[in-house]
Symmetry: C2
Subunit: 314 residues, 2 copies
């Protein structure tokens, strides 16, 4: 197995045959009743019951998708919601996912000044060697917020190189208000995100990060909801693997994401969270599988896979 | 005691007589030997020993400063460095600080899209009402990263209003590379941070956030290392309390911070972390107090207090 994160990811996509990332956004109110059994309804702040339900649900989802999907993305916020108990569940589940052979992104969107970034990078990307603990596997990659400046990425890059990990830097997000600060036009004629992408390309293209397929372990988060944005970012960040959120619930289609892939169908992963995890709430799957939420999840992954394959083959 | 966060903070500054925020950045390698007793040196990844030392050190610091300082800021990264054990220590220490009568900022710099921001806001600002737990006191305010767009602040604002909490939004940071993305000139002639400040002023000036002294519970983080930046931001954000990092180690002086305060000497808090916490490593204090690190901490706070008082009186 190659050491470089970009290589590992591209190999895993080839093996599984699908550039799909499933986002693990565990929201106890949306988890199938078969799992929660009404537990969280007694008191929505009951962390023990909520974390138990989240743990059980996520393990089941991971088992369903591990054979067909190369990578998952854990959204830290839904674990931090339950303070340290949630954070403990986050790290346990990251480890479970890795032991099932999945690559794992920690969607933490951290970013701070130098020595503080270094502490975040250590905690979230470096496998600790505790005296009195079992081995702890932390994520293979994390998402990073670059607003504080490119200098603040250095500790993340250093840690990624040291531990053969990856980074996905926020460049252009998929939320409705993202354009307000990210698409704002500069005096140079570029948008702010375009400037960021150009600066980031220089960071991505360094020997310690580059893999054998010509892609860097420094990737970029680019909202998949606008075709022209994807094209403009792809042009500026030719060596970064794009993590494309927005598929499914946020309205991005496979056709929209096509521009992020190269001629070999490489260079991007399309991320879907709720449209997969909570497929049992979608009438389309409900009509076919009734209360069998696991069948709904599997069918949603298969549909997404076929949807992307049809577009990428052209 | 007023409910509004801005009012509580301004009252606390009056009571303690100093607009000082002490940043709790516990770095085990810098903690006095009297506390660590060489514990962390056996294995820097030994979370138990490191977290124990951090806990003991922070409690001692909090006891020293609680009588003279209104507010402390916990840097989440230095706790996350030790995974969930660190996060548990973070929340325990936040609670200890609040029980000593200190106001607490959680320096978490989170920011994400809508529903994810809501989960962060719940976890970090809302006191939970767990069935089977003692009362948990979480921070009075958190720092927020606005890069994803002003719409992503809404869940933080809603939670702040519901729980009478505060926010400090990153507007212009104090690190050397901050100018690269934050001071970049827009087609309109403003800088990116100036545009952000103008948009933020509209969010800050809403009834649910405004306190009786004319300040909003939505504050701003403005690096104190450049006078013209502080002036330009103060003009654009007249109702936000400024959290000014950079004093001490990062080179900001009291004179530089003066422009952030109004004619009544209100409207800002100056934050210092390492220059206070690790004063025992400063020759100036070492010469006077030798190995008595607690005397060094107290003297550093007193010096900072006098330094600010001299400038604010003019």
């Amino acid at each position: 197995m190659p050491e470089n994160f970009a290589d590992r990811l591209l190999d895993a996509i080839d093996t599984k045959g699908a550039p799909i990332c499933v986002g693990i956004d565990p929201i106890v109110e949306m988890i199938p009743a078969a799992i929660t059994d009404g537990r969280h309804l007694r008191n929505p702040d009951d962390a023990d019951a909520a974390v138990d339900a989240i743990f059980e649900f996520t393990i089941s989802v991971l088992k369903l998708i591990a054979p067909v999907v190369p990578i998952v993305k854990f959204q830290s916020a839904y674990f931090e919601r339950y303070l340290w108990e949630g954070v403990e569940a986050y790290f346990s589940l990251v480890q479970e996912a890795r032991e099932m052979g999945l690559l794992v992104i920690g969607d933490i969107k951290r970013g701070d000044i130098g020595s503080t970034s270094a502490a975040y990078a250590r905690g979230h990307l470096a496998e600790p060697t505790f005296d009195d603990h079992e081995e702890v596997l932390v994520p293979d990659a994390v998402t990073v917020n670059p607003m504080l400046g490119l200098d603040t990425l250095t500790p993340f890059v250093d840690t990624a190189i040291e531990y053969d990990k990856g980074l996905f830097v926020l460049v252009r997000t998929s939320n409705p208000g993202s354009s307000e600060l990210q698409d704002v036009l500069l005096a140079t004629g570029q948008t702010w995100s375009q400037l960021l992408a150009e600066k980031l390309a220089l960071v991505a293209d360094q020997p310690g990060l580059m893999g054998q397929y010509g892609y860097s372990s420094l990737g970029a988060v680019v909202g998949a909801t606008q075709v022209h944005t994807i094209e403009s970012m792809r042009q500026r960040l030719p060596k970064s693997i794009f993590l494309l959120p927005g598929y499914g619930t946020q309205g991005a289609t496979a056709e929209m994401t096509r521009r992020a892939f190269d001629a070999n169908g490489r260079g991007a992963i399309v991320s879907a969270s709720r449209s997969i995890l909570y497929a049992h709430r979608n009438e389309k799957y409900r009509a076919r599988f009734g209360d069998d939420w696991q069948q709904c999840v599997s069918a949603a992954v298969t549909d997404m896979h076929n949807d992307l394959k049809a577009v990428l083959k052209r």
